[in-house]
Symmetry: C4
Subunit: 387 residues, 4 copies
């Protein structure tokens, strides 16, 4: 029997179905179409789509199909242990609630629901710079849970420093610096609607609650939302960001730093040489560079190059328990989830997030066990074959 920090998971004990689940599908691959039934077009437009023609988002998912698990038999997997410690954060399973912005588009409770669900399950919550609730509100919702902070590095140094300071004070232990979004990708679903939530003052709660940011405004943000949006837009794009600036953030953050968006072996090496504690192999779920290589396709090479010297995390394309198994077998220490829990949030708020996570953890546990593993730590590239 495997525990994930929540009593309800017992319904999935050893894969035997012993009770009711909320009125949401357990078919993780079908969540998107279910969520589409409840989300507004604007929300679906922002939440679901990828950049351009969706080529990279599709590639992300298809890449998982090409790796196949080879189950092993009769290896006594009665006692399974999925717990792990990543960058000093202990987790019941190597699954992290990755940073997703503007979660109020999916559900009024937004990041608060997600932060609460994470705490309930003992999983780590990553707060996005583009959240609809502030660093402090999310921390309060997350309570005694573990939480990391994701930074979109603005061009305003003082503002960046303020974000880091606030995150530290609010109990965020690890800093995830996103590298791949110095400019928003070309997202036709948003552009066609003329809708960018930030300009409507949604998804910039961290800014409008920030003393440095507010000092830049003529009037308080609540009195002139439009002005806040424009001020945000003036500091967000940071295409000048370079490796030279990493020491600046290193000096201002005591905890572990993770660079998110690494897709090339040379960048992985440079990241390690720069002294950060980890990287996230990610193409932002196909939301930035359309036409980019599938994130999973670059994972093995990067793990081979730097896996022994740093913590390699992974996201982009993870939808199901077997997906997690594959990413871990190819060398990731943990995966970050995005869309799946957001669909759960859209469908039922905190309960929906918990449901999706419990399903994914249960499927992960069953897949590992039925494939003959007692722990994800036993997985190696030899656990898979290229189909």
């Amino acid at each position: 029997m495997t525990h994930f920090g929540d009593h309800q998971v017992s319904i999935y004990v050893n894969g035997m179905f012993l009770g009711q689940v909320p009125d949401i599908t357990t078919d993780l691959g079908a969540l998107e179409s279910h969520a589409a039934g409840v989300l507004s077009p604007e929300a679906m437009g922002y939440v679901v789509p990828s950049a351009g023609s969706g080529s990279t988002a599709r590639a992300n998912v298809e890449a998982f199909e090409r790796w196949r698990i080879v189950p092993r038999m009769l290896r006594d997997h009665a006692t399974r242990d999925l717990s792990t410690t990543v960058l000093g954060t202990s987790m019941p399973a190597p699954v992290v609630l990755g940073p997703v912005g503007v979660q109020t588009l999916a559900h009024p409770d937004g990041e608060l629901a997600t932060a609460r669900a994470a705490e309930a399950l003992g999983l780590t919550y990553v707060h996005s710079t583009q959240a609809s609730h502030s660093i402090e509100q999310a921390a309060e919702a997350n309570g005694s849970g573990s939480r990391w902070f994701q930074l979109y590095w603005p061009t305003d140094d003082e503002l960046a420093e303020s974000f880091l300071e606030r995150a530290k004070n609010a109990g965020y232990t690890t800093l995830v610096v996103t590298l791949d979004t110095t400019m928003l990708g070309w997202r036709p679903r948003d552009l066609d609607r003329g809708f960018l939530p930030f300009l409507a003052n949604e998804g910039i709660a961290n800014y409008t609650t920030d003393p440095v940011f507010n000092r830049r405004l003529e009037k308080p943000a609540e009195d002139d939302p439009g002005a806040a949006g424009i001020a945000f837009a003036s500091v967000f794009p940071n295409p000048g960001l370079s490796w030279d600036q990493l020491p600046w953030v290193r000096e201002r953050w005591d905890g572990p730093i993770v660079l998110k968006g690494i897709q090339h072996v040379d960048d992985a090496r440079r990241a390690v040489d720069s002294g950060v504690e980890g990287i996230v192999v990610s193409n932002h779920g196909g939301r930035q560079v359309d036409g980019a290589i599938a994130s999973l396709d670059v994972l093995p090479g990067i793990v081979e190059a730097v896996g022994r010297r740093t913590t390699v995390l992974f996201d982009s394309g993870v939808r199901t328990g077997p997906d997690v198994v594959k990413a871990l077998a190819l060398g990731a220490e943990a995966v970050l989830l995005g869309r799946p829990y957001l669909y759960g949030l859209a469908l039922a708020g905190q309960a929906g997030v918990e449901h999706v996570l419990r399903c994914l953890l249960a499927e992960l546990d069953l897949t590992l066990g039925n494939a003959g593993y007692r722990s994800h730590r036993e997985l190696t590239p030899e656990s898979l074959v290229r189909g």
Copy 2:
């Protein structure tokens, strides 16, 4: 002319169509959609689906497409012989009715219809531990037919022993031990419906007719079905099963033992070393580990490793006569069928099972003959090319 133990097969003599067939399609690939029209959602939910997102179930079928038969000409195939002997059981063709549980979901006659159809055609029937009719009832229906017993090894040793004893007494000659289902896979179609037949006292006939099992209950199973389901659920999952336990079953079963669910060359070697008589290369039709490799993709390597030392059987993805040819050419001595005959059962009970089997045998016979073979024994990997 080829016989399959039944007068009606003459309608397919030498591929010439000479009479009426029952009102069921002869297009074996279309059976699933036909069956979907008559089965209840619950039944379809249990019968048809695979684990997770169906990735492995699809892979099983697609794997067959990649191997292509190269027909040979002018080789006099007037006299064809598909008969064979597998583990001491003689068969008119290397096709076995594999173990499928809870067949009453497909048709009220359940396993009785299947056992009768098997006898009528001279094919071997494999009785599932999860059957809706008992070991003894199925044996009686099967009459003078040949039958094997499939074991889901429960955690209750005395119960396991009782199953084996009963199967022996009822004329089952070979024991098929399923290794890949120590815990049920993640099956969203069932989970979404909150439906597991066993908990509704369906598919546990072997248990409720068992003296050992009944001794564990406070009241007889018929008086308290719910309690029987719970008692079943407490002994079914057996994730602690290991190679060390094989001698236990060896001591309790005189006939041949086959290990079902082998997917890795090392497990195949270990199975042979453990002294069993055969293995079934199988991923349980994609119903256990979603994301697992296609069963056919691991067959050649396993045959190369142990094919000369043991009997290698195959299932997962077999739908048509050419599929059988391909699996045999790649080294399987016989294939086990599942879904195809179950669709026949759903459509017309015993007559439906017979119809599907006759179609499959006729297509197998025609495919072999038109490809220039007089017997499946002439097939080798060189009969195929990788497309």
Copy 3:
């Protein structure tokens, strides 16, 4: 300007469209769906489908997609010559109207319309043993055209001899012996309908007009069609056919002999060694062994093995002008068409056959010219790349 023996082809002069075409599409890939609108279900069931699940029929078409033409520029293709001589038969283009049985299913005029269309365009007509019109009727319709005879070798030697004698007398110059249909393949579309045209006395005109065949009947065929069908069914399947019997036919046919249905290099070599003049690389359009390799996939190996020693023809999967270019580039001396002209026949009788052939020849001519060739004789495997 290129001529194909017919004045109407001038409408496609040099690819410039100068007039009206009959009310049939010029999109050769769309003909099947157009024909489906006019054919009866029985006719569609017999004409269109392939064996089994259609795997080989699909593979035939997909195989063409994997070879890509590399056009060459500025090579002066003003004067193009597609004419050729195959086995002593001169043709305006290397395209033959392959043998197709029971053409009355597609159109009341059946083979007569096809034979007339062939003559009108100067192309060679191949008369099927299973035709709905007799050897003599088709020859009369074909007039001064060139014609070959296709033999389904019956088990009745005297009947076979009579067929050959009649074909010789009626001006058929080449004998095409089909090897791949000693038993009809498993064709669910026919079986489901309980329909085999021959048993309804359709498609056995060569038999019912044959003195030897009629001598076997108690009553003349027209008085007892059912008996004729049964008599046919008793001589048609010939699974005992072997290489040893080839001398028998060689002794009885003075002209060139072509073996149709070769798919393996060793069979191609043996065919050449047996003294026949040619082979047709073919899998019968996927109508016999479902699961068989695509016909085009075996062509290069066979051409390499025997191309210099014999005439290699090709069919199975040819739908368009570029398909012809690819088969010729891979070494076929000519291609046999089947379904495309039959769709034309279904849509408009003789005019439909002519239309389809003119379209295909025009597209062939334009493709060759625009790819830089003046003659199909300049094509080599280097004209293509594997995509």
Copy 4:
């Protein structure tokens, strides 16, 4: 911030969406279906389709999917420069409005709208010999813009000379000689409709305004449109064109000459040896030889063979910004667009062309920047991996 010669592009500054776009989608992959809603069947029939069954048109697009961009991080791409000089023509980005004939089928303003849009954005306009507006009209509309002239080399030398003279006088600086259309390809969409615009006097404005052409007519073109169409049809097909004729055009054109339609390495080498300044690797968007290899698939080999000795341009299959990145990374100096801007023209005339081009340039800019590049000049084959 990146400029493309137009104030409105500022709405896409750094990928941040700051204003309204016209009522046309920004999803470049969806333009075709949008345009289909406004174009007449005849127009769609001519504008959209490719030759034959569309095999090459599909292959062109699929070829782009197989190459994947590998984004690089933290490389300071704040200042990006997409400007370039191709054959002496300076451009704000390596994107050219390729030659497309009969643009009045898409919109009444036809080439005038396109020429104006090109000027507005500073991009180069290529005028087609088959335009619906004359060389001089398009030049006037293009104003101070940069323009090239595309030649379909007629069989009438005096006419060809007149075209070149007029183009020179009207300020066209580079000559693009199309090699791949000495005969129109087999285009079923046109043939089925019996519609070829030129015969309806549409798309032959360059001819009917030409003194040499008019001298050949008995009456002025406007008085007898049919006769003009026939006269055009008599000089257009030029299948006798050969390498020997290149010096003729070289003597009559002082500026750079580019040969369009190169698909084979040997033809690329010969083109360079013949003394022209550049080539366009192109299969005419799949409109000429159906079954031809994807244009992108031949680009790397051609660049390797002649890339250092000549200017290699590319078209066929470019739909999006990432497509441009891939073609440039594989060695093209610039790409020619066709269908995308024509869809914009169909949807909103000049404004539509501008919209599509701005979207494509913005997506190109964002893709380059987010992939870590400051200029397309930094792209190399190592910027991609083969997926």
